[in-house]
Symmetry: C2
Subunit: 188 residues, 2 copies
Amino acid sequence: MSEEQHFNTLLQFFKVLGNESRLKILGLLANDERTVGELAALLELREPTVSHHLAAMKELGLIDVRVEGNNRVYWLKTQFLENLSRDIFSQTNLATLAANEAGDAWEDKVLRYYVVDGRLKDIPSKHKKRLVVLQWLCAQFEPGRRYHELELNERLRAYHPDCASLRRYMVEDRLMARDNANMYWRLV
Amino acid sequence: MSEEQHFNTLLQFFKVLGNESRLKILGLLANDERTVGELAALLELREPTVSHHLAAMKELGLIDVRVEGNNRVYWLKTQFLENLSRDIFSQTNLATLAANEAGDAWEDKVLRYYVVDGRLKDIPSKHKKRLVVLQWLCAQFEPGRRYHELELNERLRAYHPDCASLRRYMVEDRLMARDNANMYWRLV
DNA sequence: TCTCTATTTAGAAGATTATCTAAATAGAAG
DNA sequence: CTTCTATTTAGATAATCTTCTAAATAGAGA
């Protein structure tokens, strides 16, 4: 089962059981199989309402139905529950739930916000965000090449007027290094 | 924990996780603790929305929070999940979910429907319901006393015009017995 | 102290859901 | 064949939920 399918199965499962009437139905069917009419009387709901809930539970695979005369007898597929509880709640399976969301999404968002038309709208004051921006900035320079501070400032000014701060931050975060001759180069 | 509390905990649990955003948050926090802002960026939702979801998850006890400067770092209480999955899905626990609903509720409902102003609105054609009504009817007679068919009919007619059917059904279902002298008496 | 940042609270708009009544259906019973 | 019974389908209404914007709060940094 793909991660996305796993996510959706689980989501549907929680949605179906996250309802008072359906959770009661689950409890009733755990005790004994029941017809629609019996469930309606026990829950004090109308038959169409119960029928509607049963359809949702059946679609999920949680229950099944058997026809007896005019009655439809619904029963709990206990195997389904056992499988889910065993399978679902392990840490490793949980961790995959958000796979699509993780990764570079946040960094991308930060960059989209701060980099407008190839220039920095601002220097983020929060370190975590600033680091993202500085890493992007650093990547604009040639790896291995050495830049004199004057040239570096010139180039940084193309991104933001406060080139001195940018330069200092990049050194501070070990993205760039400098020697005694005021030469700078990329470390990452 | 009382049955009702158990039911409500479980219901809340399913409600909280039966939402796409919250289930994704669960997945993200299963990987790593996160601040509200990070979650908002990852999920592409506004901070207040995420904050709202986190509050629901925290109230349930599924996550907890730690303050770091201006940030609030949320993390998953994995213990909570493990306990739930182990505890909740056993057949015996499930069976107690509907305890409040079971019992006499259905019979009561049937009676409320058929008995109006102390008379029978109808004789149920479905055996299961008819039995409920007949048991109630039978209880209107003195236990131990013997009634002649004529007296019995007379009294039954006070409940429904078709006294003959009522009498036959009660014998058929072994609620009453009769002897060769057309005398009837309660069996239950 | 004053400002800035991350978060929460409040309140409103829009979507989804639960439930109902009325009508359709399919099978059972006469 | 007709009627009755249990259930489902359709459609409407009302409640609940999700999300948003705007404003309040509390702590950090300058």
